[in-house]
């Protein structure tokens, strides 16, 4: 970054120095295309993101492209950049954003939306796509939040829906043929029109919005392309994965090596957006993962490797995989971590086997406090499973157990909420039986999140709990568990969840709110010390929107939705069926085990994981 003289005056200057191990160095003069890969949060968060590492690797494997990284600076550095009139620049060469051909920004989290504007602003790039001049960078978004692109649509020249591995190549090939910088607006627009022809690319300016019912709904540019279809990489084994990832200097949120063992999840939890928008489930082979894991440790020197997946224990050959990785890596004092283990005895047994080197806490996610509610959300974990899991964990020597729950689920009653405390109480008693005299050290960290209804899920129509409802439920939980010595209760912040829900399901009017909030100082909102609900409430009110009402209002099932034009693969009919089953308290089988639920994915891909058969 070109802020050398700022570094003496900021907290954590190591965030801004670059020159990490495995950073790619190229001569900018030697390439035709320059890509600024931006993460709209600080270095420690951005460096943990595997997707960005994948794109960095793919883009830099191209001889015609130099991809450099830009992270959002911390608040003190933001202020200094503004005061001293210095433009935000890349870590690799200190090039300001305006000098790149493409600015790519990943959208992982709604509370990062104002950071997107902040990044562009600090980099000297016009915020609105329609205000950019011919020679300004093409601003492209992507990532999970792009499945409802509308709240940010006017700020992006294009958004990519789905897996980035292949489409990023197609975009760069196309851009290369147009040899930027563009001499005039006409050639810039011609490029964007061609770009909209690439499958999976959404070019918002070609989709004017029309008020349909309560929403502004994007209208297709032509009748023959009524939707933008999500990109899906079919063969993960063949997909590129960086085995020389950058090793950040400053400790990152996930400060370890990561291999992506699978993408997608077959469980079908009804609140989970990832479970829908990463369908179908694909796995990398044990051989590929073994090779990648060894190469990554060779190239990084990490002492821990994490198996990244939405549901590790569901990986078909998980036992074999753990065995070979353990064989190869334990001698080098490399431990293996699983971010998500199934809440049953099998999950614990696997965790026990991998944690031979280090023992951290163990995490289970029952999500709801009663069987009835777990059935409604299709979280197929029984109380028996959970008991077995916790018992196995204590017997295997763990003393700290994390439990994840959610409140605000559709159909939730007070008894369901109280069920959370009751479940924890049962686990405490179980722990006392298992541990006997040693039970004094037992600790339960109970984390309670608030449901944020997400687009493309069966709960997308649901109204979120209101602020008073959340407060009422939180007080119930505090009364139940707040004073227990061996229980640490962490209840998520309701106002932040409300803003998330508003942005997740917003239409193009939400873009005005994002801009107003940004201009009123909203930035780094994912950090509680920076989040200010009043600011968001006021910003929305300025545009005639009641943010709390927007979040808590139920959406009629027959409404045309602002994200209906994004075809993620799963159909609205399937989501409706799942919602109906939820209301009846009927569960749906894991697609690995049961019949095909006809979710719509087979329209996009040839093969799917159904009926316990990879070829089903």
């Amino acid at each position: 970054m070109n802020i050398d003289n700022l570094l003496d005056d900021v907290v954590g200057p190591a965030r801004y120095i670059g020159c990490e191990h495995n950073m790619v160095e190229k001569d900018p003069q030697s390439v035709a295309l320059r890509f600024a890969l931006c993460y709209p949060d600080v270095y420690e968060v951005g460096t943990s993101h595997v997707g960005s590492q994948i794109l960095y690797h793919i883009l830099n494997s191209r001889a015609d492209t130099y991809c450099e990284r830009v992270y959002h600076p911390w608040a003190d550095a933001v202020q200094l950049l503004k005061e001293r009139n210095i433009r935000l620049a890349s870590l690799e060469t200190g090039t300001p954003l305006t000098d790149f051909h493409v600015v790519g920004i990943t959208l992982q989290h709604e509370l990062n939306y104002t950071n997107v504007l902040s990044l562009l602003d600090l980099g000297g790039v016009a915020l609105w796509s329609c205000e950019r001049t011919a020679d300004e960078p093409i601003v492209i978004g992507g990532g999970p939040c792009a499945v409802n692109p509308e709240p940010l649509a006017p700020f992006f020249d294009a958004l990519v829906i789905g897996d980035g591995e292949e489409v990023v190549q197609e975009i760069m090939d196309l851009l290369g043929r147009h040899s930027p910088p563009f001499p005039d607006m006409h050639s810039r627009e011609r490029f964007l029109r061609e770009l909209s022809g690439v499958e999976g690319v959404y070019v918002p300016f070609l989709w004017p919005v029309k008020k349909v019912g309560r929403f502004l709904v994007p209208q297709p540019p032509s009748a023959d392309r009524p939707s933008v279809r999500r990109r899906v990489v079919e063969d993960l084994d063949a997909a590129p994965f960086p085995t020389r990832p950058i090793v950040p200097y400053r400790e990152s949120v996930h400060d370890r090596a990561q291999v992506e063992i699978s993408r997608g999840c077959t469980r079908g939890c009804r609140f989970c957006q990832a479970g829908i928008i990463y369908r179908h489930t694909r796995e990398r082979s044990v051989e590929t993962l073994r090779r990648q894991a060894n190469e990554i440790i060779d190239a990084t020197g990490y002492d821990q490797i994490s198996l990244s997946s939405l549901s590790c224990t569901d990986y078909t050959e998980i036992e074999t995989l753990l065995e070979v990785l353990h064989q190869d890596l334990s001698e080098r004092r490399v431990s293996i971590g699983m971010p998500s283990i199934r809440a049953d005895a099998f999950g614990v047994e696997l965790a026990r086997r991998v944690q031979r080197v280090k023992k951290s806490g163990l995490t289970f996610a029952p999500e709801a406090g009663s069987q009835a509610l777990r059935d409604r959300i299709n979280k197929n974990v029984t109380e028996q499973d959970l008991r077995e899991a916790v018992e196995a964990a204590f017997r295997a020597g763990w003393q700290t157990i994390k439990l994840y729950f959610m409140i605000g689920l559709p159909g939730e009653t007070d008894d369901d909420v109280l069920g959370i405390g009751e479940t924890v109480q049962q686990m405490l008693e179980l722990g006392r039986q298992c541990l006997g005299k040693r039970s004094g050290r037992m600790q339960f960290n109970v984390s309670v999140a608030l449901l944020v209804p997400k687009p493309h899920t069966p709960f997308q129509w649901a109204g979120q709990d209101s602020l008073p409802q959340f407060e009422y439920k939180r007080r119930m939980l505090l009364q139940q568990m707040g004073r227990r010595k061996q229980v640490k209760l962490n209840c998520h912040d309701a106002p932040a969840a409300i803003v998330e829900a508003f942005l997740a399901r917003g239409d193009r009017r939400a873009a005005d709110v994002v801009e107003t909030a940004y201009h009123c100082g909203a930035v780094l909102d994912a950090w509680t010390e920076h989040f200010d609900f009043e600011r968001w409430r006021n910003a929305a009110a300025e545009h005639g929107i009641d943010i709390e009402k927007a979040a808590s209002e139920e959406i009629p099932l027959d409404a045309v939705l602002p994200w209906d034009h994004i075809d993620v693969g799963v159909t609205k009919e399937y989501l409706l069926r799942e919602l109906e089953r939820s209301q009846k308290g009927v569960t749906t089988d894991d697609c690995r085990l049961g019949e095909c639920q006809d979710c719509g994915m087979t329209r996009l891909v040839g093969r799917c994981f159904t009926g316990g058969d990879a070829d089903g």
Partner: protein, 223 residues
């Protein structure tokens, strides 16, 4: 009772340029990873969380450069310094490893013989004062029997005489050259000397620096 043989690879490196902004914990982590990449036969601690046995002298504060910094990697067995250099240097390219020396020694801390550190500073006040004035201030400090500085800890403030542990002090151009004590008993911070200099020239503010470089670490008798 025979003393156990221990082997340490003493690695001399630089922490210059932007790397001066790297905190000590981040630096230690970077070395731990480099050692694993280089497949150096490093010794690990026992227990649930085995750690590679890599030790450092008193860390450089963030923002201070080091021209000849040291790090000790404890080895499982005797090894050729040359082999370790060849394996490790490319893994720590930004740290420009100058040399590796393998030391064989008894069960005692490696750093007990570290006595002093050399520094070069460009003080904040360098531009505002005449070189002759600076020379005079240096002479005044060197001629004093006592230079009292206040050190604050959480609980109390203590007055310390730093003069005995200023082993060298020179002004040349806009640069101050110093060799100062670094042991627990003899520690003198460069900032303390610069403040004393500023005071000797009649300034009220503390003496800061625009650039500070630790030029070397001195073992045995202070030079």
């Amino acid at each position: 009772m025979g003393e156990e043989q221990r082997f340490h690879a003493m690695v001399q490196y630089q922490k210059t340029g932007l790397l001066r902004y790297l905190g000590h914990l981040d630096l230690a982590k970077a070395f731990d990873r480099a050692v694993r990449r280089a497949r150096i036969p490093v010794k690990y601690t026992q227990g649930y969380s085995p750690r590679a046995q890599i030790s450092f002298p008193p860390p450089l504060p963030v923002g201070v450069e080091g021209l000849a910094e040291l790090c000790a990697v404890e080895l499982q067995e005797a090894a050729e310094a040359r082999d370790i250099y060849v394996a490790l240097a490319p893994e720590l390219r930004s740290f420009r490893i100058a040399e590796v020396e393998v030391r064989r020694r008894a069960r005692r801390s490696l750093w007990t013989e570290l006595k002093a550190a050399g520094y070069q500073a460009v003080p904040d006040f360098a531009e505002d004062v005449d070189e002759a004035v600076m020379q005079q201030a240096v002479a005044q400090l060197l001629g004093a029997d006592e230079i009292a500085v206040e050190r604050k800890t959480k609980r109390r403030t203590r007055c310390v005489n730093i003069r005995p542990h200023i082993y060298r002090l020179r002004a040349a151009g806009d640069m101050i050259d110093m060799v100062l004590g670094v042991t627990e008993e003899t520690l003198v911070k460069p900032d303390e000397v610069l403040t004393a200099l500023a005071r000797a020239m009649g300034a009220q503010e503390d003496g800061g620096w625009r650039r500070l470089v630790r030029t070397g670490l001195h073992f045995g008798a202070a030079q």
